[in-house]
Amino acid sequence: MMQSKTLTIAFALVSTGTLLGAAALYKTTALSLGLFGGVGVPCYLLAAGLYVYEVLQDLKRHGVL
C-alpha cells in the first residue's frame, strides 16, 4: 500500500487542485482560472508523480522491475 504519509500528501494535493478547479468553474475570472492553472494543475501533477513513484517502488519490492 502507498505509504500513509505519501497518501495523505497526495490527497491534500488533489483536494487543493479540486477546490481551485471547482472555484474556477463556479466563478470564472482571470484570478480563479489563473490560480487553477498556476497552482491547481501543478498540485495534480505532483500527486500523479507521487502515485507513479509509489507504484514503481511497489513493483520493485515485488521484484517485477
Partner: protein
C-alpha cells in the same frame, strides 16, 4: 499495494484530475470569450464601460451596440486569426495579468503590437460596404498587406486610445 487499491488510487490521482482539468479548460476557454469575463478585471472596466456607453460613437461601441458582432465582441476583435491565433491571445492575456500582479503595472493596458487590420478584414473583406467604398480604393492593397491600418481613419476604437 493490492490491485484494487492501485485502481482506486489511479482513479483518484490520475483519471479524476485529468477529467476535471479537461472540463475546466473547456468551460474556462468558452467563458473567457464572453465580454463579462473581460469585465472581471478592473483594468478593463473603462473599455467595457466604453463599449456599453449609449452616447459613445467610437468604433468598438458601434460594433457592440449595433450587434455588428453578435456575440463575444472583445474576443472577435482581439484574437488574431490563424492556427495559433487563440493561443497567442491567451499568452498575451497572461502577460498582461503577470504585468499587473508582478510589476504592479496598474495603468491602462496597451497592445503589444499594432492592431492588425486583417482582424477587421476577416469580416469586412468581400463586403460591398468595404469593397465598393470609394475612399477605400487607394488604400485597399495597403490594408490587405498590413502596411496601413483601418484605425488610421476609423480609430481610435476605444476612449483614450491612440488610433
Amino acid at each position: 499495494m493490492t490491485s484494487r487499491a492501485k485502481w482506486l488510487l489511479f482513479f483518484a490521482f490520475i483519471l479524476f484530475p485529468f477529467a476535471l482539468t479537461t472540463v475546466t479548460y473547456e468551460v474556462g476557454a468558452m467563458r473567457t470569450r464572453q465580454v463579462d469575463f473581460c469585465a472581471s478585471c478592473h483594468v478593463m472596466t473603462p473599455f467595457v464601460e466604453g463599449v456599453r456607453d449609449p452616447k459613445s460613437d467610437m468604433l468598438a461601441a458601434l460594433h457592440f451596440q449595433n450587434r455588428w458582432i453578435p456575440h463575444q465582441q472583445c474576443y472577435t476583435c482581439h484574437v488574431d486569426y490563424g492556427m495559433f491565433g487563440e493561443l497567442d491571445a491567451k499568452v498575451r492575456s497572461v502577460r498582461h495579468a503577470a504585468a499587473f500582479y508582478l510589476k504592479k503595472d496598474l495603468g491602462r493596458p496597451k497592445l503589444y503590437k499594432p492592431y492588425p487590420s486583417r482582424n477587421c478584414l476577416h469580416c469586412h473583406q468581400g463586403a460591398r460596404s468595404f469593397e465598393e467604398q470609394p475612399a477605400h480604393e487607394d488604400v485597399k492593397d495597403a490594408l490587405k498587406s498590413g502596411s496601413a491600418s483601418c484605425l488610421d481613419c476609423h480609430g481610435p476604437a476605444h476612449p483614450g486610445g491612440e488610433g
